[in-house]
């Protein structure tokens, strides 16, 4: 695969039951492209956490996933409230999720830490009141 492939997804902000569809679709596409199952697992986990975060905190957003010879790059962009304290948000167990979200089994404060743990590069660009863009890379 010499040219770069890009897939884009719109994440619906109020539908928790559909969260994960974009990650699932990427997972299947990477499988078809012959990407190793270890790399696919990392991409799928990091992207799903990102999707869930977008649904919980930002009323949705867009995700673009590019696949090149040496990496899968995910760019998750939302127009949510922004992250006031990134260091705090990166701490395992710190969460600002609502109670109804927690009752579904989310909101344990593992989202961003998991995204960091399962990717090789991660950058967070956030502006309060304007939104957050997270760029993650998994090396192939």
């Amino acid at each position: 695969m010499s040219e770069q492939l890009t897939f884009t997804y719109t994440i619906d902000g109020d539908d928790f039951t559909r969260a994960g569809e974009a990650s699932s679709s990427v997972k299947n596409k990477l499988k078809m492209l012959g990407v190793s199952s270890d790399a696919i697992r990392k991409v799928a986990i990091a992207m799903y956490e990102g999707e869930i975060n977008m649904v919980i905190h930002a009323e949705g957003g867009t995700i673009s996933v590019s696949v090149s010879d040496d990496a899968v790059t995910m760019v998750l962009a939302d127009r949510g409230p922004g992250i006031p304290d990134i260091d705090k948000a990166m701490q395992e167990g710190y969460s600002t999720a609502r109670e109804d979200v927690r009752s579904l089994g989310f909101g344990a404060g593992m989202g961003l830490p998991n995204m960091k743990r399962f990717t090789d590069e991660m950058q967070i660009d956030t502006v309060i009141g304007e939104g957050t863009t997270i760029t993650m890379k998994v090396y192939l």
């Binding site: 039951t17 994960g20 990650s23 697992r41 799928a44 089994g105 830490p113 998991n114």
Partner: protein
């Protein structure tokens, strides 16, 4: 141990078969999906009381082979049909999580 060996555990009902020949790696117990997302082992048997559509999404993304719903928890028809499409087995039991995990462990992962 193959997935089909778990189907024989007496206290379990099989709601979706997945791939009965699939080789199982480990048993994993967790109800917080955020933690399961990061920790559920590939090809594992995941015991949980969290039965909703997101449980299936997490199982699918972590390559879990089988979801075991403990304490009488179930999944709705639509989610079960989706589990069938994704090739993930779903079992249900009235037993608590620890008890069913132990039974499965003793049935072949010991």
């Amino acid at each position: 141990m193959k997935l089909k060996d778990i189907f024989a555990v007496p206290e379990c009902r099989v709601l979706a078969e997945g791939d009965p020949q699939r080789e199982i790696s480990r048993i994993f117990c967790c109800d917080l999906l955020s933690i399961a997302m990061g920790k559920a082992p590939a090809d594992g048997v995941w015991v949980t009381v969290m039965g909703n559509r997101n449980t299936l999404a997490v199982a699918s993304l972590t390559d879990t082979a089988c979801i075991v719903l403990a304490e009488g928890v179930s999944l709705d028809e639509g989610t079960l049909a989706k589990a069938g499409e994704e090739g993930i087995a779903v079992l249900a039991t009235e037993l608590p999580a620890f008890d069913i995990a132990l039974e499965i462990y003793q049935a072949g992962l010991e």
